[in-house]
Amino acid sequence: METKEKTRFKHLEKWESTLSACIRCGYCFEHCPMFKYTGWESDAPRAKIITAFGLLSGELEPTEMAADKIFNCFYCKRCEAACSSGVTLTEVFTDAKKDLVEMGLRGPGTTSVTYLNCARCLACVKACPHEARFHGEDGIETDPVKCQACGICVEVCPAGAAKIEHNFGTGREDLITESTQFLSTHASAKAIVFACNWSYYPDMQASRLPESETHDKDYEIYVNMCAGRLESQLLMAPFLHKAWGVLVAACPEDECQHKNGNTRAKKLIQGLQSTLERVNIDPARLQVVEIPAGDKTLFQAEIDTFIDRLNAMGPIR
């Protein structure tokens, strides 16, 4: 595709050759949590590259809908790791966002927003690993270009005013509903595993097994994007529904895409472990493990060890 006229996409322009380097193989989209959630190609990284290309070439008008697609990204960078044509997808998205913002299109897509009940405590401003939150004219605002949708502000906000509206099933409410449902419909259920999208799935990607094959499952894995956004309410909810234990998978410390997600998770879990101890529950029932990017074998091994340990402990009395 040739650029038809002078483009308004000044930042995106420099990626023109990168955009054509994408061979549309699709290797990236099996990894994208958004695609896995909606099953729509237009939510997959490959399609976002096509969309960016469409915007640049003028084939697509910069509409709110096109912008929303580009603003939908958790910056987990799984797609980049999988792309063997070396397309730096998230950098392309960031530059596309810059141009769109200049045109007055701000998503929000997955970027976080602030509700009116914000108490201006600045907790999110301090916690944001990407310096995306600031005190502006209208109160606490988010820079939509800098925000990488890690969800940490959502976790720290005491007023519940920081929100990611399109969370593709990774929000607290969704995860609580899903995990509770699993625990209440599976007599064999023992554990819930929360994994950031880096440490990932040793799991099925986009197909569903028949009930007869899954009714005796003892654990279920849920992707929560960054471990740094895990909240105590989420981690404790399974225990209220007869789970024997909860396992959290995070990236190794120096590999976290959102700087300190790993350390935040560890701190939170330490605190919760002492809470468990106080109510006479073995703190080993809540654990965090570090999994390097996409190491499915290690992840599966950690899950197996955890389940073995739970089996030795038995249910919580």
Partner: protein, 459 residues
């Protein structure tokens, strides 16, 4: 031809408003597959069941609306590209593995099931579904049926076709058919199953597939063997096959491919390495051991530079990762490639290799070839710069010569990617006029209104 509002509303009623779209933003995302050809559809629809598919088909039949079946859009010949517009019908929501039957060694699946998900599901139960296209992690079973996909393991286990026992499918007029059997044998009537497998979504829209499974092999050993000359490697391949050991895969990488993937390999290649074979043997532990030894001996006699056996699964996986990385990485050489997946009889591989070398020298372009040498399937990639008119012309010429050579050696112009759009112009080189006419008539019997994936295969 834009779609009229009443037809669109009808579609919405059939599948629900949230499962049909005609926003330009979405249409663009469903306008392509892995070929890079792109053409906007008028709408995209996501049915959840066979009944919905049949309803959509009936509507399309009545309104003479093109329907283009689409799995994951990873096809290499434009099969899922809506070249005449119409409605792209995506199978993503039909992603249920309906049943796995370990007693009868079958699996019943919907077309949107991802191939590697199926691998995982059956392997956990000690079963095995052999077809393994390099794109397994993303492509759908429906797409594999459409193209009759193969993969490295085809040497021993054959391609998708061999594993399809029966199908349920929707005809262009909306009627639902059931073909084949759920038993290991069956010869009642014409074999419609085989006719539909590999028909690139032009005869019927597949809605359910009964697949044959095998017991999972107890043991696998993986070998990497280097040669200082492509010709020697090619001769070794046909030699190994004559030893009466059938490895489950024999992949080969030529010099140019080696240059691309050497950083992905876990071991250093000898300096003189010009070709690499990746071989895999499976079966029970004893057979694997004897066959591996036989192959290693034979490779030594064939003057291999280096023979190495993967010590564990991780090493074997790393070798396959490198192989999998090859196809996308090609773009490091030039911005455009013409990818041909030709097949020649195994004994003619050395001749084909020599012919490719000649074509390469004459064209002055880089030609990278690698592939499933064990069954004679060579992925030949002609690399050129699309901005450079003379290179583009040379590339086209090289393709013509490549096909000419392939057919002369008794081969076929497409082993597993299908004809689709990109090979349409060449089909008549291989298929005679009478046979072509017969094929067109078969198409017309299934689809007299030419609405199911129109504009494909036949020029």
């Amino acid at each position: 031809m834009a779609m009229c509002a009443s037809v669109y509303r009808h579609l919405q009623k059939l599948v629900g408003k949230e499962y049909v779209t005609r926003n330009k933003e979405d249409l663009l995302c469903y306008s392509y597959d892995a070929t890079g050809t792109s053409c906007l559809p008028d709408a995209v629809v996501f049915p959840a069941s066979e009944t919905q598919v049949a309803d959509i088909m009936k509507l399309a039949w009545e309104k003479r609306l093109p329907i283009i079946p689409r799995g994951s859009g990873s096809g290499m010949t434009g099969g899922a590209v809506p070249i005449q517009g119409g409605v792209v019908l995506v199978t993503t929501r039909m992603n249920n593995i309906i049943a796995i039957d370990p007693e009868n060694f079958t699996a019943t699946v919907e077309p949107g099931v991802i191939v590697s998900d199926l691998h995982k599901a059956v392997e956990e139960r000690g079963l095995f579904y052999p077809p393994d296209p390099a794109s397994a992690a993303i492509c759908s079973i429906g797409g594999n049926i459409g193209e009759c996909a193969g993969g490295p393991r085809a040497v021993k286990y054959g391609v998708t076709r061999e594993y399809v026992l029966g199908l349920r499918a929707v005809l262009p007029c909306g009627d639902i058919i059931k073909t084949g059997v759920s038993t290991a044998k069956g010869v009642a009537g014409y074999d419609l199953t085989r006719l539909i497998v590999g028909s690139e979504g032009t005869l019927a829209l597949v809605t359910q597939i009964i697949l044959k499974l095998l017991p999972k092999p107890e043991c696998v050993s993986t070998l990497a063997v280097c040669f200082d000359d492509m010709h020697k490697a090619a001769k070794a391949v046909s030699g190994i096959m004559r030893l009466a050991v059938i490895p489950r895969c024999v992949e080969y990488l030529d010099e140019a491919s080696l240059g691309l993937v050497k950083d992905h390999l876990r071991f250093a290649l000898p300096d003189q390495a010009r070709a690499l074979l990746i071989l895999e043997v499976d079966g029970d532990a004893r057979t694997v051991k004897t066959q591996t030894d036989l192959i290693m001996d034979f490779c030594k006699k064939s003057m291999a530079l280096d023979i190495r056996m993967a010590q564990d699964q991780t090493e074997a996986a790393a070798l396959w990762e490198a192989r999998k990385a090859l196809s996308p990485i090609l773009y490091k050489i030039a911005n455009q490639k013409i990818n041909e997946d030709i097949v020649v009889p195994i004994s003619r591989i050395p001749d084909m290799v020599a012919r490719i070398k000649k074509i390469q020298q004459a064209s002055g372009l880089t030609i990278v070839s690698f592939g499933h040498a064990g069954d004679g399937n060579i992925h030949c990639n002609i690399m050129y710069d699309k901005q450079n008119a003379s290179q583009a012309k040379q590339a086209q010429k090289a393709v013509d010569q490549l096909f000419e050579a392939t057919l002369e050696l008794g081969g076929t112009i497409t082993g597993e990617h299908g004809v689709g759009l990109t090979k349409m112009a060449y089909l008549s080189l291989e298929i005679g006029p009478v046979e072509l006419d017969l094929m067109k008539k078969i198409k017309a019997v299934f689809d007299s209104r030419q609405i199911l994936n129109p504009g494909k295969i036949f020029a």
